[in-house]
Amino acid sequence: MIWLTWRQLRGAATMTAILLVLLAAVLVPTGAQLAADYTGGLAACVRGEDCAGFYDQLFDDYEIPFLASILVVLVLPAMIGLFWGAPLITRELEADTHLLVWNQSITRTRWLVVKLGFTGLLAVAAAGVTGLAVTWWSGPLDQSAPGGFALMDPLVFGARGIAPLGYAAFAFALGVTVGMLVRRTLPAMALTLVVFAAVQLAMPMLVRPHLIPPVTSAFELGRENVGGFGINRDGTFDVRIEAAIPGHTGAWVLSSELVDPSGRTIATSGADGIVQGVSTTSGPCSPAAGPPTGCPAEVNRLGYRQKATYQPLERFWPLQWIETGVYVLLTAGLTWFCFRWIRRRIS
């Protein structure tokens, strides 16, 4: 049965293997170069001024391969679901060959065990190898990437560590299940893509923030979390709050708000909030005082704070494990359904 499964998968597996080899051929030399650039540049900037400039330069240099590698890891599970999962059963049903194979001396349960197990393992291995290779490649950039592209940010998180294994297993099982229900390859592929995309969007937006209860706490305003100060024509003073947290570089900020001394929210991140009681004609926040280096202290003194809800960077691996676990459970549920369905409904 393993021979037959392999024989049927051979074409698709060879194709995937070629693509993975090509990917490795790109990743290995550029990854070595990237690592060298990083250590070299870091040594230079530690001796000289601060490293922010170097980080920006490094990210600019590698931005396109960085984003492309993320795309590869995020798209691969969907491809596996579409091209390995959905046709696995429908192809047999459409050609009636299930009637041929189910009438050999092998129960259909065992047939499905081998088909799902063998193909699924290869699928997960392909996605896992790709995910880990890209995680290795982008190591230096993950240490230094700007906000929005950091390790914990939704786009990057799903393309690192062990999460792609879970995605691939789930996409494969989803494809098989949809195929069994729809019984025709093309509609099954389309439906698999839609459902998988929906799940992949729902996960970071609705589920992942709550896998571990996020931390909420108040922070003084400072250089990292303030985007800018402004003086309006009517003499009011406002502060723009950013989605960064002082002392928690790399944290995944779920919400960042400017709150007044009574705890009322006056602005969310990216928007200007009017701060009462700041003198715009004299003191550290007035234009006359030059660069507003003393201004944050003045706003803090008045009792204004940043209230942020976030997942700190230290939770990267716990979140990876929990999320992978969630996908493994979903996969197990779909697999259970497949076995039930093949015993009861399909002929």
């Binding site: 049965m1 021979w3 037959l4 024989r7 049927q8 050609a95 009636d96 060959t97 009637l99 041929l100 194979v101 189910w102 009438n103 050999q104 001396s105 092998i106 129960t107 065992r110 009861r344 002929s347």
Partner: protein, 296 residues
């Protein structure tokens, strides 16, 4: 074990439609059984139930004394060639034989190879490029080399041209003589079965209409032609299968074990085709009810 297939009140429903109803049959071993009936009569459903492809909605079925399809051992004893003889188009002929060898404990590799060679099939050819007749022969080879005790074939020759049809059935006949196994074969064409079947089951209107050895069925069925007469005036041991009346004349197909003495009738022998058609023609439940409602 003298029965290859026993069914008791067997029924299968798809949604609200019954594909097979109250099917009771007992097919003795050692026959080539023809299952005849019009399209949609439930032939495929009955065969799939026997192969374990389907679970019955009501009643029970045993094949060779076991529950169909439940265990590898049971699967090994029953061969099944599905409708339109599906094969893997991407696999070569030789790979099909390898598939059979790997998935069947009793696989007869020598027989499979020899058969393929005799048919003149190229082992390196992909099954997708075979003609319909060659594909059917490949599927039959897979079914035969499994060395089953019962081989089920669902409309195996339906899509074949007359020559391929004859070759296929001839190959099947030769194999049954050589290896002594039972065969259940379905078709909607009696002419396919006439040559090879020694047992016939007529399935119509999702019910078994008649079943028995061909010889015996032909010996006990007669066509009576004579002046017009109502069916209740026939002797009690003559069961009417079908009746046709014109103004002056009646034609009955009847079943009886006793000889027919009434000199009014012209008695003719039926061909198997006539016999099957008479049962397919039998008024259905719905038809019988209709005139009653009109009278009310």
């Amino acid at each position: 074990m003298t029965s290859v297939l026993q069914a008791q009140g067997l029924g299968k429903r798809y949604g609200r439609r019954w594909a097979l109803r109250e099917c009771t049959a007992d097919i003795p071993a050692g026959h080539v059984v023809g299952l005849v009936g019009p399209n949609g009569a439930g032939k495929t459903t009955l065969l799939k139930l026997a192969g374990g492809q389907l679970e019955p909605t009501t009643g029970g079925i045993t094949v060779l004394g076991g529950r169909p399809g439940g265990t590898p051992a049971q699967l090994a004893r029953v061969g099944f060639v599905a409708q339109d003889t599906p094969v893997y188009t991407g696999l070569t002929v030789a790979e099909h034989l390898r598939l059979g060898a790997r998935l069947n404990p009793r696989w007869d590799a020598a027989m499979a190879r020899e058969r393929i060679a005799r048919l003149g099939l190229d082992p390196t050819q992909r099954a997708g490029r075979l003609s319909g007749g060659q594909r059917a022969q490949l599927a039959l080879t897979l079914g035969l080399a499994k060395r089953p005790e019962l081989l089920i074939l669902d409309e195996p020759v339906a899509s074949l041209d007359p020559l391929a049809r004859r070759e296929f059935l001839q190959g099947l006949m030769e194999a049954t003589v050589e290896h002594e196994f039972s065969v259940v074969l379905s078709s909607h064409l009696v002419s396919d079965l006439e040559r090879i079947c020694d047992y016939v089951i007529v399935l119509a209107d999702s019910r078994v209409q008649v079943a028995g050895e061909t010889e015996r069925l032909l010996a006990t069925h007669h066509r009576l032609t004579g002046p017009r007469r109502d069916p209740d005036r026939l002797p009690a041991d003559q069961h009417v299968v079908s009746a046709r009346h014109t103004d002056r004349q009646s034609t009955y197909v009847i079943r009886t074990d006793a000889p027919i003495h009434d000199p009014v009738w012209t008695v003719t022998r039926l061909s198997l085709e006539d016999l099957v058609l008479a049962y397919m023609d039998k008024p259905t439940t719905a038809d019988r009810r209709a005139p009653l409602e009109v009278r009310r």
